[in-house]
Amino acid sequence: MEFINFYLLPGIVLGSIYALGAIGVSLVFGILRFANFAHGELMLIGAYITYSLFQFTGLHPLAVLPLAMVLTSFIALGIDHTFYKPFRNSKTTIVIVASFGIALMARSAVQIIWGVDTFSYSSGRIEMPIVLFGGLRIFMKHVWIVSCSIGLMLCIHTILSYTRIGKAMRAMSDSAELARLTGIETEKVVRATWILGASLAAAAGVFLGLDSHLHSMMGFYMLLPMFAAAILGGIGQPYGAMVGGLVVGLAEELSSYPWLGDSPLLPPAYKAGVAFALMVLMLLWRPSGLFRGRVF
C-alpha cells in the first residue's frame, strides 16, 4: 500500500504532466526541426498567467486554464514570429542557440513581473486525501490532474487523426518537403504546432503548480524530463511522447523505492538524474525511440 500511495500514484501524476509537455516538445522538434529549449518556459508562463487570473477572478485555476492556454499560445506565436521565423531556412544549430536565449529571457521576464517567491494555488489549505479500501490514499487534486491530462490527450488525438490541420501536421512531421509539395501551407502548420504545444505546456505548468507550488525555476527543471520523454517515445510521435512521459515520471518516482533492502535504490536527491540516464541509454540503444520516430 505504501508503494502505491507514495511511489506509484505520484509517478502516474508526474508522468501525465511530463507527457503533456513532451507532446509539445516532440511536435515542435518534428515539425520545426529544432530542440526548443524554451519549452519549459512556456509551462512557466502558462502557470503564472493562470495564477494571476486565479487571483483576479477568484475562480479555481482549472476554470481559468482555458484562457491561460489561449494567452500562452499568443505568446508562443509572438516568440516564434520575432525570434524563430528569421532562422527558418538556416542551420538548426543557430535556432537552438536562439531558443537557449529565449528561455533565459522568458524566465527573467517572469521574474521581473511576478518576482522570485514561490506561489501556491491552494492559498494555504492543506488538502486531506480520501482513504479507500482501508489504506489507499487518493488526493482530489491528483484525480483532477490525471483526468484533465487524459482529456487533453484525447483532444490531441482527435485533432491529429481527424482534422485537416492535424493531418497536415503529421504529414509535415514525416517529411516537410513532401508536405510542401502537396500544397500544405507550412507556415499555417507551424502556427498550429505552436498553439497546440503552448496550450499543452500551459496545462502541464498549471498541473505541476497544483501538485506542488509555483516557482520561477520550474520550467528549467521540467526541460530534461520532457526531452527524455520525447526522445523515449520517438521525436515527432505524439503518442510516443505520452508513453515516454509516463515512463519517465514513473521511473523517477520508483527509483527511490527501497527495492533492495531498506534504503532507497537511489537517493531521492538524484531523482533528476533518472530522466537523463533513460534519455542517454535510449539515444545509444535506439535513437528513433520506442515508437520509431525521426532521427535527425
Binding site: F100, M105, S108, A109, L224, A272
Partner: protein
C-alpha cells in the same frame, strides 16, 4: 578624487581584468567546441564546477567537513583540475559525441545538472551546500594590491599562452579538420577522417579550459560552493560572449569575454545603487537585455564583432 578612491578604482579594474580573463579562457574553450567543431555544449557550468572543486580539494589543508588535506601547491591544483576535467570530458564524449547537435545540447545540459547534483549531495567530499572555504590564493604572501595584481598577471599569462596554442592549432591541419567536421561531417568522413575521435578531442580540449577556469575562480574567490556555479551566470554568459565576440575567431572570443564581462559588471554596479526592491528586478532585467542582445547579434550580425576568418590553406597564402 583622493588617493583612497583611486586605489579602490584600481582594485576594481584588477578584479575586472582577472575575472574577464577567466571568462576568456572559458570562451576559448567553447570556441574550440562550438566555433571550430560545431559541438553544442550547454553544460559549461558543470565542467567549470569540476575544475573548481578538484583544485580546491587538492590545495586546501585538511578539514573535517570535506575531502582534502593534500595541501598541494596551487599549480598542482590547477593541473589536477585540468586532468580530471579531461577524463570526465572524455567519458562524456564517449557517451554523447555521436549525437547530433540538438541531442548533444540536451545531453550536456543533463550532464551539467548531474555534476551539480553530485557536488551538492556528496557532502563527505564537497561539504554540500556550505562549500569549501580557505582555498589558497597564489602570491598570498605579497602585500595587499600586489597579490591581486600578481594573480591578474598569472591569469593574463595563461590566456595569452592558450591563445597562441589554440591559434596554432586552428591554423594546423587539426583546426582545418575541425572546420571540415563542422561544415560537412559526411565529407570529412568520406575523406577518411575519424570524425568521432576528432570530435571527442575537440570536446576534451574545450572542457579542459573550462575546468582550468573553474580552478582559477576557486583560488581567486578562495571559496567554492554550489551557488558559485549557478548554471545561468556561467553557461549563458560564456555563450553570449562567444556569439557577440565572434564564434570561430579566437581574438573574437577573448574580446567578447572582456567586453561582455565589463558590461555585465558595470551594470551590476549601477543596479546595486537602486532601491532594494528595484535592484532585484533590475538584476533580472539585465539578464533579459543580455538575452535580447544575443538575439539581435544572431539575427543581424551573425558573425559577431570579429567574424571568423576562413582560410583555404596556410601553404597557399603566399
Amino acid at each position: 578624487m583622493d588617493a583612497a578612491q583611486a586605489y579602490g578604482y584600481m582594485l576594481y579594474l584588477v578584479s575586472l581584468i582577472t575575472i574577464g580573463g577567466i571568462y576568456a579562457l572559458m570562451c576559448l574553450g567553447l570556441n574550440i567546441q562550438w566555433g571550430f567543431t560545431g559541438l553544442f555544449n550547454a553544460g559549461i557550468a558543470g565542467f567549470f564546477a569540476i575544475g573548481a572543486y578538484v583544485s580546491a580539494i587538492l590545495t586546501t589543508d585538511g578539514s573535517p567537513f570535506h575531502l582534502g588535506g593534500f595541501g598541494l601547491p596551487v599549480a598542482f591544483g590547477l593541473v589536477g583540475a585540468m586532468v580530471v576535467t579531461a577524463v570526465v570530458a572524455w567519458l562524456v564524449g564517449l557517451l554523447c559525441i555521436r549525437l547530433r547537435s540538438d541531442y548533444l545540447a540536451i545531453a550536456t545540459i543533463g550532464i551539467g545538472e548531474i555534476f551539480r547534483l553530485i557536488l551538492k549531495n556528496e557532502i563527505w567530499a564537497t561539504n554540500g551546500a556550505r562549500g569549501i572555504a580557505k582555498i589558497p590564493l597564489p602570491f598570498e604572501t605579497l602585500a595587499e594590491p600586489w597579490n591581486k595584481i600578481g594573480f591578474m598577471l598569472l591569469v593574463l599569462a595563461i590566456v595569452v599562452a592558450f591563445y597562441f596554442l589554440i591559434e596554432r592549432a586552428r591554423l594546423a591541419p587539426w583546426g582545418r579538420l575541425m572546420t571540415a567536421i563542422r561544415e560537412n561531417e559526411h565529407a570529412a568522413r568520406a575523406a577518411g577522417k575519424n570524425v568521432e575521435r576528432f570530435r571527442v578531442e575537440a570536446f576534451i580540449c574545450g572542457s579542459v579550459l573550462m575546468g582550468l577556469a573553474g580552478g582559477l575562480t576557486a583560488h581567486y574567490i578562495k571559496f567554492i560552493g554550489p551557488g558559485a556555479t549557478e548554471p545561468l551566470t556561467t553557461t549563458f554568459l560564456v555563450w553570449v560572449m562567444l556569439i557577440v565576440g565572434g564564434s570561430g575567431n579566437n581574438r573574437g572570443a577573448i574580446l567578447g569575454a572582456f567586453m561582455m564581462w565589463t558590461i555585465w559588471s558595470f551594470s551590476e554596479v549601477l543596479t546595486s545603487r537602486l532601491p532594494e526592491e528595484l535592484a532585484i528586478k533590475a538584476a533580472y532585467f539585465r539578464i533579459f537585455l543580455i538575452g535580447l542582445l544575443l538575439q539581435v547579434v544572431l539575427q543581424r550580425y551573425a558573425g559577431g564583432i570579429l567574424p571568423e576568418r576562413r582560410l583555404v590553406s596556410v601553404t597557399n597564402k603566399k
